[in-house]
Symmetry: D3
Subunit: 248 residues, 6 copies
Amino acid sequence: MNSVFMKDITWKEFEERKSRAVILPVGSTEQHSFHLPFCTDSAIAEGISEKLAEKIGGTVMPTLCYGYKSKPMSGGGPLFPGTIDLNGRTLISLAEDILEELCLDGVKLIFVNNAHYENEAFLIEAIDIVSRRHPEVTILESNWWDVLPQSVIDKVFDDVPFPGWALEHAAVTETSLMMYLAPQLVKMDMIPTETGFEPVPYHKYPIVKGMVPESGALASAKGSSAEKGKLITDTAVDEFVKIIERFI
Amino acid sequence: MNSVFMKDITWKEFEERKSRAVILPVGSTEQHSFHLPFCTDSAIAEGISEKLAEKIGGTVMPTLCYGYKSKPMSGGGPLFPGTIDLNGRTLISLAEDILEELCLDGVKLIFVNNAHYENEAFLIEAIDIVSRRHPEVTILESNWWDVLPQSVIDKVFDDVPFPGWALEHAAVTETSLMMYLAPQLVKMDMIPTETGFEPVPYHKYPIVKGMVPESGALASAKGSSAEKGKLITDTAVDEFVKIIERFI
Amino acid sequence: MNSVFMKDITWKEFEERKSRAVILPVGSTEQHSFHLPFCTDSAIAEGISEKLAEKIGGTVMPTLCYGYKSKPMSGGGPLFPGTIDLNGRTLISLAEDILEELCLDGVKLIFVNNAHYENEAFLIEAIDIVSRRHPEVTILESNWWDVLPQSVIDKVFDDVPFPGWALEHAAVTETSLMMYLAPQLVKMDMIPTETGFEPVPYHKYPIVKGMVPESGALASAKGSSAEKGKLITDTAVDEFVKIIERFI
Amino acid sequence: MNSVFMKDITWKEFEERKSRAVILPVGSTEQHSFHLPFCTDSAIAEGISEKLAEKIGGTVMPTLCYGYKSKPMSGGGPLFPGTIDLNGRTLISLAEDILEELCLDGVKLIFVNNAHYENEAFLIEAIDIVSRRHPEVTILESNWWDVLPQSVIDKVFDDVPFPGWALEHAAVTETSLMMYLAPQLVKMDMIPTETGFEPVPYHKYPIVKGMVPESGALASAKGSSAEKGKLITDTAVDEFVKIIERFI
Amino acid sequence: MNSVFMKDITWKEFEERKSRAVILPVGSTEQHSFHLPFCTDSAIAEGISEKLAEKIGGTVMPTLCYGYKSKPMSGGGPLFPGTIDLNGRTLISLAEDILEELCLDGVKLIFVNNAHYENEAFLIEAIDIVSRRHPEVTILESNWWDVLPQSVIDKVFDDVPFPGWALEHAAVTETSLMMYLAPQLVKMDMIPTETGFEPVPYHKYPIVKGMVPESGALASAKGSSAEKGKLITDTAVDEFVKIIERFI
Amino acid sequence: MNSVFMKDITWKEFEERKSRAVILPVGSTEQHSFHLPFCTDSAIAEGISEKLAEKIGGTVMPTLCYGYKSKPMSGGGPLFPGTIDLNGRTLISLAEDILEELCLDGVKLIFVNNAHYENEAFLIEAIDIVSRRHPEVTILESNWWDVLPQSVIDKVFDDVPFPGWALEHAAVTETSLMMYLAPQLVKMDMIPTETGFEPVPYHKYPIVKGMVPESGALASAKGSSAEKGKLITDTAVDEFVKIIERFI
C-alpha cells in the first residue's frame, strides 16, 4: 500500500506515477476564528486531495501552506496575529515555478485544488503563464465550493440560512469539513455565537480594526457536523473525479 | 462649466479639486461579441464615473483601457483577435504607480471603479500595497454589479432569467448599459441569439477554440434596452455616492 | 464608414483589419502649464494617429494615457499636482504586454506613435524585448517632432526663435497642435508670458521647487496658431506614411 | 497540552505566544536516492524544529516544503523526476513575505531552520532585506550540520569516513536523521551501495545525465542508525537553544 | 599622493573622503568600429572622471563597464559580436543598488558621469528612485557632450562637418578622446573611410544586418587628434566642476 | 601580441576569438581591512583570469567589480564605509544578461571566475537560467580556493594555522595574492595583528557594529608573501586549465 503523498515516496516511485494526475493542494495560514486552526484551508485542501488521489490513483504534491492576502470581506483580513499574507506577485511566482517543474518532468495532467478563495486569481495567472509555454499539459483548477450542487448546499444549510460563499469563513462549511477531516483541531466550545457581520459590496483600505467581527468569523458555525463535512468532501471528490476524467 | 475629466483640465484646476474624491475608471480591451465594441468595459466604467463625479463634485482620471486577461468562464478568453490581455504583475504595477502618485499629490479619497471582473484581484493587490505606505488616504474599490439590489436585478431580468454575473458578458446588462451610455457603438442587428453556453465550475488550460461560443457572448442579450441601462447606471451611481459619503 | 479606433469596433471587424498597420498612440498625464490640459500629449498622439490611420487604412489602439516620469528639463517635473509618473519598469511591462498580444494576434506591422519625449527609451526597450520573440512582426517607433524637416520648423518658428525640442513643453508646437486638434481644451488667455527658463546640461536630484518656472511651461507659447498645428500634423502624417510604406 | 505547531493553533493562542521565539523550518522537495522520500529535508527541518520549540516554548511555522534548485554537487540535481526547483528570486520573495508578516505581527525573534543547503544564500538575502526594514526584530538562521561539534561528527562517522558535507546527500547523516525522526519513510533495503561519486571543485552547465550517480545518492548511507539520528538531533537542538538564548 | 580611484584605496581612506564628491563613471561594452576597442565609452567615462576627481578632490567609483543596449541609430546595434547589451531593468537595478549603498554610507554628493548615450534614461530612473528615498543626497548626472559649448564643437569640427551627436559613434569626438586618453588602444590605420550612413528619424525592429555600416562606425573619424581629445576633456572637466560647485 | 582583455580589442578581433574560451571575472567592491584595497576580489579575479587566458588563448571579459552583499561571517559585512552590496536579484540579472549576450554571440565555452565567495549562489542561479535557454553552450564556474589541493594549502599555511576559508578575508591568501598580483596596492605596514575573531555557526540580523573586528579582517595576514601569492595563482591557473580542457 503506497502513500498518495509525493512527500512520502521516492523519485523512483514518482517516476512510475508520472502519467497519472498530479494534485497540488493550496491553502493558507489564516486566522479562522476562536475554534479553527490556522491550517484550516490547508488541511481541507490536503484532506480532499488525499481522497481524490485515492480514487483516481493520483499523487498529492506538498500543500502550499501560505496563501494570498486574507481580505476582510472573505477571510477576516490581516489584522489577526499569525495570518501570513503573501503578496500576489510571490504567489504567482511560487505556483509558476512548481507547475513549470512538473511540466518539465513530463507530467500530463495537473489538478490545482484551492481551498482559500483569495488565492484563485493568482493561481490562475500562474497556470496561464505556464500553460502558454507547455500547451502539452492539461492544467485544471477548481475548489470544493464551486462544484457543490444546490441540493448539497441545501442539505448543509438545513437549519441555518446560507449566508453566501464570501461569508463562509470559519462558518458552517469549513467547520464541518474540519470536524470530518481533522476533528482533533476543532475547539467546539469556542465556536462564536452570532457574528452580526454585515458584508458590504466594496473594498475599503486601509483595513482597520472593526471592519470584521472580533472573533474573526464572518458567519456563525452553528449547525456544523462531521456528517456535513463528509457530505461536502464526498461530493467535491466525486465532482473532481468527473472533471479530471473529462480530460484523460 | 468645468469638465469632470482630469484629462481636460489644467494642473491649477486639479490643485483646487484635490480635496474632493478622485475616481479611477478601469476597463479592458476585450471582445464583446458581434454587437459590442472592444471598449465596452472601459466605456461603462468611464460613463458611470462621469455621472458619479458630477453628483459629488469629483474628478475622473484617465480610464485604464487595458485590463487583466479575459477568461473563458467570464469574458470569452484570449482567442478572439484584438483582446489585449495584460499580465497580472503588469496591472498590479500600473495601478500601484497611479495610486502612489495620487497619494503623493495629497489626494485624500480615491474611488476605483472597475468594470472588468477579471481586474479585481489585481487592483485590490495594488490598493493594498499602496495603502500600507499611505494609510492617510482612503481607497475604495467597487463595481456596478455588486452594488445592485435584488429589486433592480429583477427589473433588468424581467423577460429573460438572470444567468449569474459570470455569464453577463456582452449580455443583457452590458448591452443595456452601452445602449444608454454609448448607443452609437451598439450594433443591434448583430446581437447573437441563443449562445447555448454551459459554464463549468473549474478552469481548464490550455484555452482552446470551442470553450466559448463562436460569437464571444456567454449569454443572450435579448431584452436589452437603454432604459435598463439607465436604471443600472442610476442605481450604481447612487450606491457609489452612499459608499463614498461614508468615508468623507 | 468605419471608425479607425479599435475601441469602437468589434472583434470581427478587427479580424478583417489585422493585416493592415496597427497604430499605438502613447501620451502622458502631465501638467502643461496654465493653458493646456493634462491630456495634451495623449490628445496629440491620438489625433495624429487618427489622421494617419485614415490615410493608410490602419487601426488605432486605445491610447496609453499614462507615461513615464516627467522631467524638469523636458516636461516640468513631478512637482505639479496631477502629473502621474509611471516607473520605468511599469511602462516597459505595459508596452511589452500590449505588443506581445498584438504579435500573438497575427498583426504584421505596429507603429508606436509617441508624443511624450520621456517615454521613448522605455517604449524602445519593450519593443526590443518583444521583437526578439517575434521577429516576424515589424515594429516601428517615431514621434511628430523628429520627422519634421527644417523647412517646417522654420515656418512654425517664424516669429519666435526655436528654443530646442527639450524646451518645447507647453510651448509653440504643443499649443499649436492642441489649437488644431482639440481647440476646446486650450485656454488662450492663460498662456504664460516670458518663462525665463534657462535649461542646464545636467540632471539634478532631488527635484525641488524652483527648478522649473511657476507656470510649468519651459518656453513661451506666443505665436501659436491652429494653422501651425495643422502644418505640423499634416507633415508628421505624411512622414509617418512614408516610413510605414517602406516596410509593407 | 498545546501543539507547538502554529498550523494547529488558533490566532488567540498565537497572540499569547508572540513574545517567544518563532521557528521557520525550510526544506525542499528533492530526490533522496532510492531509500529516502522527497520530504527528507522538510521532515528533518520540521522534526528538529518541533523538538527545539518544545524546549524553548517556541512556535513552529508551517514548513517551507519547496526549496531552491538542487545542484549536482550537493543534492543530485534537477534530472530526477519529482525534484521541484524554485527559482532564486521566488524563494527570496517567499521568505521575504513570510518574515515581513511576522515582523508586522510584533514577533521579536525568528529562527530560520534550514535543512536544504542550497536554500541558504537566498534565505539570508530575504532575511537581510526584511531586517533593514525591521531592525527591531532579531532574525537568526542556522542548520543542523554547521552546529555539530567535531566530537559528534566523529561519533556519527565511526565506521565510514566523513565525505564532507556537500556529499552528505541521502547519506549517513540524513538517513540516520530520518531513521530517528520518520522511520516509516525509510526503505532500509533500498540503500544503494557504493556510489563511486567523485565531487569536482567547479560547477558545469548544462546539467546532464551522468554527472551524478544513478541512485541520486552522493555518498553511501551505510552505517546509518536511529541512534546516530538522535545524537545529531539532540546536539542540534542543544546548540540552537544556546544560540537563541544569546539573543533573548 | 593618493589614488582618486576608490578601488585602490582602503575603507579607512574612503571614510575620510566621504564628505567630498563621489563620481560614478558609466560606460559600455560596445563595438566601436575597426579602430576603437570595446571599452571606448568606459575608458572615456573613467578618464574624464579621473581628471575631474583630481581637480575637486573627489573619489572615482569602479566604472560600470556594461551598459544599456546599443541602438542602430546611435551606437551600431547588437549585431556586432562582443557588444553586450544589458536589459533596461537590469541597468536600473544595478545603478539603484550602487547609489543606495553610497547614500547609506553617508555620501552627500554623487556625480554620475555617463559616456554611453543609451544609458541615460535608465540611469536617471535609478537616480529618481533612490533620490525619493534619500532626499538628503544631491545626485547629479551629466555627460561630456551636452556640456560642450558651441565654440568647442566648432573647433573640433574644423575640417569635417558636425554630423549631430547621434552619429558621433566611433567618429571624430570619440576617436579624439581615445587618442588623448588611451592612445595605445587606437588603431589609426583601421579608421574606416566614408560610412555613407544616413540616419532615419524612427526606430525599426527587428534589427537586421544592413541597418548600420559594415564597419560599425556611424560617421567618419577623419580629422581626429589627441589635441581635440584634450580640448574636449578639459572643457568637460571644467564644466563638470562648475556644475558640482553649484551644489556644494 | 594581442591583449587578452576584451575591453582592449575591437569587434573584429573578438569575432576571430569567439570559438575559444571566454572568461568572466567576478569580484566585489568590499572593505579588505586596513592594508588591502576595495578592489581586492576584483583584482584577484582579473589577475588570475589574465594568466589563464594567456595559457589557453582565451578572452577576458570586463570584470564585474560590484558583487553580492558582504557578510559578517565571510567578508566583514556592510558596516564599513565604501562596501557596495548588490541585492541578490540584481546580481542574478546582471550575470544573466551578460551570459545571454555571449550565448547569442555564438560563444561556445564560458568560464566564470569568481573571487568573492558570497557571489556564488547568485552567479550559479544566473548560469542555470541562461543554460536552460542555451544548452549548446558550456558554462563553467569555479574559484581559486576550491581548486587548491591540500598540499598547496599546507605550503601557504606553513607558519600560521589555516583558519578555514570563511575567515580567509583580508588574511594570508588574499594578502599574498595581492602582493603578487598588485603589490603597489598593499599597505604592508597596515596589516592588523591578532583579530581575535571567533566565527559562529549561524547568521544573525540585524548586523551591528561589534560582530566583526574593528579592522575588517577576519584572520591575521601575518606570514603573507608574494611567493605564496604566486603559488596560489599558478596552481589555480593550472587547475582551471584542466577543467576547461575537459569540456573542449
